[in-house]
Amino acid sequence: MTDMSAPANPPFRPSMLIYDRRYRSMTFQVIVFILVMALAWWLVNNTIRNLAALGKDFNFGFLWQRAGYDIPQTPIPYTSDDTHFRAAVVGLLNTLIVSILGCIAATFVGIIAGVARLSNNWLIARLMTVYVEAFRNVPLLLWILIVFAVFTEIMPPPNAFRGDDPAASMILFDHVALTNRYTAIPTLAMTNDPGSLDLGARITFNWATIAFVLVLIGGWFVRRMIGAWAQRVQDQTGSRPTTWWMSLAVMTVPSLLLIWFFGLHFEAPELRGFNFAGGLNVQNGLVALWLALTLYTGAFIAEIVRAGILAVSRGQSEAAFALGLRPGRTMNLVILPQALRVIIPPLISQYLNLMKNSSLAIAVGYMDIKGTLGGTTLNQTGRELESIVLMMGVYLVLSLIISAGMNVFNSRVKLKER
């Protein structure tokens, strides 16, 4: 480019700020910048003046004060003597719990419903259409309230389990009790408890849990190795060895050994006093929220799955059939890899929506981050500015993490074209 004889630049005139394409965009950007800065300055200035007028400051110190309120469902130890910060963390964990459980379940529901909607079984396809339309066209809040109401109005209270001839009985071999407050499920107990790893801040992990996680991760790696081996054998001899039983063994046998080693067993919940004890009581707020989010998001995912499968043209499966591939193989090797490219990006934005929608937990008294930091803490301390800014920041970070994951995925699976 060195040899280019640049056109004699005309001398700069002020009118070029508007009429010259190079300067014009700069002029415009400068104006926009000034306007935006002015707006930001105005907002900040107003806030400062308002805070001053009220005698308030902007200070996150309240996070270290005693919270003073209890939270029904705490994934990490928490009492009313803990700080607001810890309460917020409990809330965040609760948000994550319901979001992750919701995403997993919604994916299952969505895939099943989406595939069923394409089924050539008229009845099933119609039922799924009804399901999808019902959930997509009615506010989520209503579904949350309805599911919650189903639990509180229809399930028996715990004391209905009392007495010699109780009005209600536990299910699954007397291990699970569905009540109108919570679902009492058994906890896992160990006869040889190996003790816990203390991470500080009263967060502990049982060594047994760690052992299981490690064994599962290890098993997964071994499974992959078996898969790679099968692939190698196939590449060399043409026929693929059957490996499912090896995989199954690798995934289960070590776990079974651990169960035997630690003496792992269920401890069934038992009615004591007002409530079930000894097991784990999963709040109906969580269950209802989870179920409603699952069904609601599942309806959207079903549409995405359906569209994704429809997006792979019929010609693709015909070509595969014409080559002699069986329907199952065709699905695995031809349809799914293509459909997933179409499905996954909108799927992930559904995950994002689900995570954001979990803030409706407030309607069923499930204490997520909106309930703790953005609810009770805000209310007890009167730090609305700080609390809400912090809470939005948390949601924003979660969203950005999810969408960053999505972008990585998108750029990896993009079809190569001319």
């Binding site: 043409g238 026929s239 043209s313 070509a319 080559l323 293509q338 079809l415 074209e417 001319r418």
Partner: protein, 262 residues
């Protein structure tokens, strides 16, 4: 467009044996209550090269799609390579791995490279070791003159190249019979020639072929027989020279005047 076939064709290998490759008897097919194929009788011998022509909607595609059971026929018999096509999955599988098919819109798998497109079926259906499947695939890619594209994705190729990959993909299953459904009609004129050349080469090697096409130059150059269909029936069949110069039925005449006058 008859000028697309330029080079002289070597017909030395193109001999027809007495063995029957495909035998269709009295076959009928309906879509709902619409009678698409009516009383089709057709015998194709090993090594024969048949061109099917006819107006749009006359059932040409449906006919050849019945031959590898992409469509089900409702009455009559179709016997391919000695195997009768019924609802028996094993038979269908056997037939499909003997019969290759090339579609109008190529239907390559866009998520796989050209090489993977070609090795997919041999590996998973024929259980050929990958190495060997790849060698075969490269051989056929060379035959269709695009070995250098093996590691590209279909989306990166031109239409003509894509169709040649589709042909190679079918050939990799080493089928006894090849079906072509208007393989050139979605292509730009320059690319048609590439594909036709490839098909002529196949013909010269004595492959049994059934080809739905309106490329009359191709038909004249390689076909043993031209079949003219209308309204789901075979209206006329004859060897190409006779067919073009001396059509018997009114319909054929009308059709030829439209095609050739164009």
């Amino acid at each position: 467009m008859s000028d697309t076939i330029t080079r002289p064709i070597d017909r030395s290998h193109m001999q027809v044996s007495d063995e029957v490759a495909i035998d269709i008897r009295n076959m009928n097919k309906w879509y709902g209550s619409f009678h698409v194929l009516r009383d089709i009788d057709l015998t194709v011998h090993r090594g024969e090269r048949i061109v099917i022509a006819g107006p749009s909607g006359s059932g040409k595609s449906t006919l050849i799609r019945c031959i590898n059971r992409l469509e089900e026929h409702q009455s009559g018999h179709i016997v391919v390579d000695g195997i009768e096509l019924t609802n028996d999955i094993k038979n269908i599988d056997k037939v499909r791995s003997e019969v290759g098919m090339v579609f109008q819109h190529f239907n390559l798998f866009p998520h796989l490279t050209v090489l993977e497109n070609c090795t997919l079926a041999p590996i998973w259906v024929r259980k050929v070791p990958r190495r060997q499947a790849e060698e075969t695939a490269m051989r056929f890619l060379e035959k269709v003159k695009i070995p250098e594209q093996a590691s590209k994705y279909p989306g990166q190729l031109s239409g003509g190249q894509q169709q040649r990959v589709a042909i190679a993909r079918s050939l990799c299953m080493q089928p006894k019979i090849m079906l072509f459904d208007e393989p050139t009609s979605a292509l730009d004129p320059e690319m048609i020639k590439e594909v036709l050349d490839t098909m002529i080469e196949l013909a010269e090697e004595g492959m049994t072929m059934i080809c739905v096409t309106h490329e009359m130059g191709f038909a004249q150059a390689v076909a043993n027989r031209v079949i003219f269909m209308d309204q789901g029936q075979i209206v006329e069949q004859n060897e190409p020279r006779e067919f073009f110069n001396n059509p018997k039925s009114e319909r054929t005449k009308l059709f030829l005047s439209q095609i050739l006058g164009h």
